[in-house]
């Protein structure tokens, strides 16, 4: 048996919650015993790392050693894939590093939208799909039904799919054995010029950027000067190795077919783009691997510190996050209402949520975010073309010839009883119905084309609430389409609040304006004077609500001589006012800006 025949490179694809990480853990557990020598190196390495950071490194590509029933020891490289549509491109690059994919399907829930999307992606890369039926121990498990579903819907044989419970460790051995049998070994000439595919990279404060890659052709060793073909950068390799279940292990070199990591004192992840090809400077490959593309953000929003004094902290936090996330873009912007902040671009909604959450949790920042926006293409009457991601920058309507908005292809998997609800929702979101495919008698997949700006608000929440949580959803960009779009402004006490302006389809302006006015009325506290809330398109007011003047705010009670308590109450009240944003003469709480992001509620 030659070297390559003993290697298997694979990913696990699954719908969220179908047990991907649990299975990965089980595979690691079954195969992850260290030799004594490895153990020693490992312990040293880990200590250094922990001293530097004290965080565990996310295992993006782990090398497992498996003693198969045929008596041979196989190297199994498990390559993790991000689990969401926003990271479709990253998923596709991870898959491109593999020869096969384990498709996990939940025995109780069956195929979901994401399962299909990822499977098709894997098939696009000519991967061998190896279905696994998980959670067979659940009372509601119907493995036979699911097997049939896989065969009918995806069209791959599933008769021999291992039936397992990753949670309880049932059937893991069978999975390992099938990996060896079903998934083809890699091909590649180790003597050809180096071509290695970057499928992930992240910044480590100790080692600099760590690149995960798959060697397609040639070989790579410490001391080599590499050339990154898309970004055009050169680096000298400091370390190559692979990830063992318990940490980084250095090795001398990596050959065609193998998966590993390298470090080369690289400071910036934007130099090591996912999908780029690594070659050698003095013996370069003629052509880069296909499939590289520069990922561009699709969703934008303004992010502001709740406490204006923490602007610098926010800037530092974004810079740190960007070290590890080349897809995150941001630039400073100023809002009259919110002060100094940043306009940030994300791959999609989940990406946006992840970043916001990390800023809040890891950097302890309180944020105010504006309504998310997409990039609109504006063609002005003078022929000039603009990309607008901040509604405030939209030119005057008189200067606009026409506008275009991004459209996505959306696949929504839903139990048949909710088809009506979902069609209604998609209709309401300006969806164009394409067709319906039936998975089985109880579930269908609806295909729609939807404007991206209709799904970035609260589409996912709306989907869930209309299907008792059963719908699943996946989308990909289709392109731009001309559309009747207008800018809707919100005025408080006659003053326009720039942070609340947004671009909306003309048919929806009225309803949206009214809803926002209602929401704001609910979240702006009564103040010393009456506050009109108006929604306006140009000079035309299309909705109005009023926050009545505060009637009573008096401390009648006598606290004996306890003046300190009185003062504390007043201080608290003053603090509360300070946390609000001053918009003209109106004090607007942070929540008010956030409340308009969830218009579908109640």
């Amino acid at each position: 048996m030659n070297r390559l025949e003993k290697i298997r490179n694979f990913s696990i694809i699954a719908h969220i919650d179908h047990g991907k990480s649990t299975l990965a853990d089980r595979l690691l557990e079954k195969t992850g015993l260290l030799t004594e020598r490895e153990m020693e190196e490992q312990v040293l390495d880990n200590m250094e790392l922990e001293r530097e950071r004290g965080i565990t490194i996310k295992a993006r590509a782990v090398r497992l050693l498996y003693q198969a029933k045929d008596g041979e020891e196989y190297i199994l490289n498990l390559i993790d894939t991000p689990g969401h549509v926003d990271f479709n491109y990253e998923v596709s690059r991870s898959l491109a590093a593999c020869e096969g994919a384990i498709l996990i399907v939940d025995a109780a829930q069956g195929i979901e939208a994401q399962t299909l999307a990822n499977t098709y992606l894997a098939l696009d890369h000519d991967l061998e799909i190896m279905p696994v039926i998980n959670k067979i121990d659940l009372p509601a498990a119907q493995p036979d039904v699911v097997v049939e579903e896989i065969e009918n819907v995806i069209g791959i044989p599933a008769e021999d799919a291992p039936r397992i419970s990753a949670k309880n460790g049932i059937g893991i051995e069978e999975v390992l054995e099938q990996i060896v049998q079903v998934i083809p070994p890699p091909k590649g000439d180790e003597n050809a010029p180096l071509k290695a595919l970057i499928f992930d990279s992240f910044y480590d404060p100790y080692k600099g950027v760590i690149i995960y890659f798959r060697v397609k052709e040639g070989r790579l060793k410490t001391g080599d000067t590499i050339h990154l073909m898309a970004t055009g950068k050169d680096f000298e390799v400091v370390e190559v190795g692979y990830l063992h279940p318990s940490g980084f292990l250095k090795c001398d070199e990596l050959l065609a077919g193998e998966v590993g990591y390298l470090t080369a004192s690289i400071k910036n992840v934007s130099d090591t783009r996912v999908g780029d090809t690594i070659t050698l400077k003095n013996n370069p490959a003629e052509k880069a691997l296909s499939g590289y593309k520069q990922v561009n953000p699709m969703v934008f929003c303004g992010i502001y510190p709740a406490d204006g004094a923490r602007y610098e902290d926010l800037r530092d936090a974004l810079a740190k996050l960007q070290l590890n996330d080349a897809a995150l873009v941001y630039e400073p912007e100023t809002s009259v209402a919110l002060g100094f902040g940043f306009r940030c671009g994300f791959l999609g909604l989940l990406h946006m949520e992840i970043i916001q959450e990390r800023l809040e949790r890891e950097y302890n920042l309180d944020l105010v975010t504006t309504a998310p926006s997409v990039i609109y293409k504006v063609t002005k009457t003078n022929g000039e073309q603009l990309d607008i991601s901040n509604p405030t920058n939209l030119p005057d309507p008189s200067e606009i010839d026409y506008m275009e908005e991004p459209i996505v292809k959306a696949d929504i998997m839903v139990p048949t009883e909710y088809i009506g609800n979902i069609m209604e929702l998609c209709q309401d979101r300006r969806g164009v119905y394409i067709n319906t495919t039936y998975i089985d008698s109880t579930r269908a997949q609806l295909h729609y084309e939807l404007p991206l700006n209709e799904i970035i608000y609260d589409f996912f929440d709306a989907l869930k609430s209309r299907t008792k949580g059963y719908a699943s959803f996946d989308y990909e960009m289709k392109g731009y389409q001309q559309s009747e779009l207008i800018k809707l402004d919100i005025l408080l006490n006659g003053d326009m609040v720039d942070a609340l302006s947004f671009i909306v389809h003309s048919t929806k302006a009225y309803a949206r304006g009214r809803r926002i006015a209602e929401k704001l009325k609910g979240s702006i506290p009564r103040q010393l004077f009456e506050i009109p809330i108006q929604a306006a398109v140009g000079n035309k007011i299309i909705a109005r609500e009023t926050v009545k003047a505060m009637r009573k705010d008096v401390l009648a009670k006598c606290y004996g001589g306890d003046i300190t308590r009185k003062k504390k109450l007043l201080e608290k009240q003053k603090e509360g006012k300070k946390r609000m944003r001053q918009v003209g003469s109106v004090e607007v709480p942070q929540e008010a800006f956030m409340s308009v992001l969830k218009l579908d509620e109640d």
Binding site: L528, F529, M550, R551, K552, D553, V554, L555, A556, K557, C558, G560, G561, D562, I563, T564, K566, K567, L569, L570, E571, Q573, K574, K577
Partner: protein, 380 residues
């Protein structure tokens, strides 16, 4: 600390005992702990010994319910105060009491002991409201109490009144106001109910079992009260306080005027020099702390000049007369309009504050939203 012996002080004594706790009350009081009253009184005497010889022109014994002490206990307390401090000849000595905790003999004893002012917690003259508030008395008993106090010789009597009660109608409030006026007190304290968290009444309102009158009704009650009392000859001199001419509470005025006072007993607050300090609420901790000299071992706030200026404003503005520019300048050496130019201008513009010659005071609308006005007078 050094106490300026040349000043004349107010004295507040807290009696943290009650027969039962009212449903809205979050003051320090310990129903069922009356057995410890003797020891508590001993402690009070110890605490006052630190202030021997200091002059005072007001004494206020509040609670809790001071009159749930025995007649002898309370009289001995008043006696101890008189012996420890140098009381001015016209010293105002007030005792708070609740109907049903004192009879005519009790009042007579207090009167003979030199107490010259009573503050009676009548609160409402509607039995349904009284029982909802968790008061131990009914309206009839409250009226009898006032009569007994008068019979005992008291001519200076304050009655408490509450409004904005759950379920209270304008009609029932008007009824209470007219009953109150017919009792002819010299002074009236009228409080809008404030729901404090962790009180039974709060929970009942929070759960929706009881419903508060809406803000408009509550404010109308206040307006009606001011009008009715004014017709009956009572002047409003502070947001919550009304009196016949010459019967303002001298003790309470010290709070609004930042005059010095000494607080004795659990949870009592003192304002001496540039310090504000408080005794611990909890009985055992108070008893321990009382052995220490003033301010020591107590929660203490040192007032900066900014604090003092802010207090001058947010306390003084509670009085209908307002705050005097001249007095501000005399106290701090700076013009009030300079230190507080922004909030003064803003609130005058909004018609929440107004000038009356040298005095800046709240307008009627300003009273209704006074907290919003006051909090802008806090200096950073």
């Amino acid at each position: 600390m050094k106490i300026d012996q040349t000043k004349v002080y107010g004295i507040y004594v807290h009696i943290p005992f009650c027969l039962q706790k009212c449903a809205y009350c979050d003051f320090t009081s310990y129903p069922g702990e009356l057995s410890r009253a003797d020891y508590y009184l001993e402690t009070l005497k110890k605490e006052m010994s630190y202030y021997q010889g200091i002059s005072a022109d007001t004494v206020y014994i509040g609670g809790g319910t001071p009159t749930c002490l025995s007649k002898n206990q309370l009289c001995s307390l008043v006696d101890a105060i008189k012996r420890n401090f140098t009381l001015t000849e016209d010293c105002e000595i007030t005792v708070e009491c609740n109907p049903k905790t004192a009879d005519e003999a009790y009042f007579s004893a207090l009167f003979l002991q030199g107490v010259n002012r009573l503050s009676i917690g009548t609160q409402s003259f509607c039995d349904k409201e009284l029982s909802m508030l968790g008061r131990v008395h009914n309206a009839e008993e409250a009226k009898q109490c006032v009569q007994m106090a008068k019979n005992a010789g008291f001519t200076n009597i304050n009655l408490d009144l509450m409004f904005g009660l759950p379920g209270q109608s304008m009609a029932s409030f008007m009824q209470s106001v007219s009953e109150l006026i017919s009792l002819a007190p010299t002074h009236i304290s009228a409080y809008s109910l404030i729901l404090e968290e962790d009180t039974p009444l709060y929970s009942r309102v929070d759960s929706g079992e009881l419903v508060l009158p809406d803000e408009d009704v509550e404010r109308s009650m206040y307006r009606v009260l001011v009008d009715e009392l004014s017709k009956a000859g009572y002047q409003q001199y502070e947001i919550s306080n009304f009196s016949l001419p010459g019967f303002e509470s001298r003790h309470n005025n010290k709070y609004w005027e930042r005059a010095p006072y000494i607080g004795l007993g659990a949870a009592a607050h003192s304002h001496i020099g540039m310090l504000r300090f408080a005794n611990p609420d909890e009985l055992d901790r108070y008893i321990k702390t009382a052995k220490l000299p003033p301010a020591e071992g107590r929660e203490t706030e040192f007032l900066t000049e900014k604090d003092a200026m802010s207090e001058f404003m947010f306390l003084g503005l509670r009085k209908m007369r307002g705050v005097s520019q001249k007095q501000f300048y005399e106290s701090f050496g700076k013009p009030m309009t300079e230190v507080f130019s922004e909030p003064i201008q803003k609130h005058c513009q909004r018609n929440l504050l107004e000038w009356k010659d040298d005095h800046l005071c709240l307008t009627n609308r300003g009273i209704d939203v006074s907290n919003s006005v006051f909090c802008e007078f806090l200096l950073d």
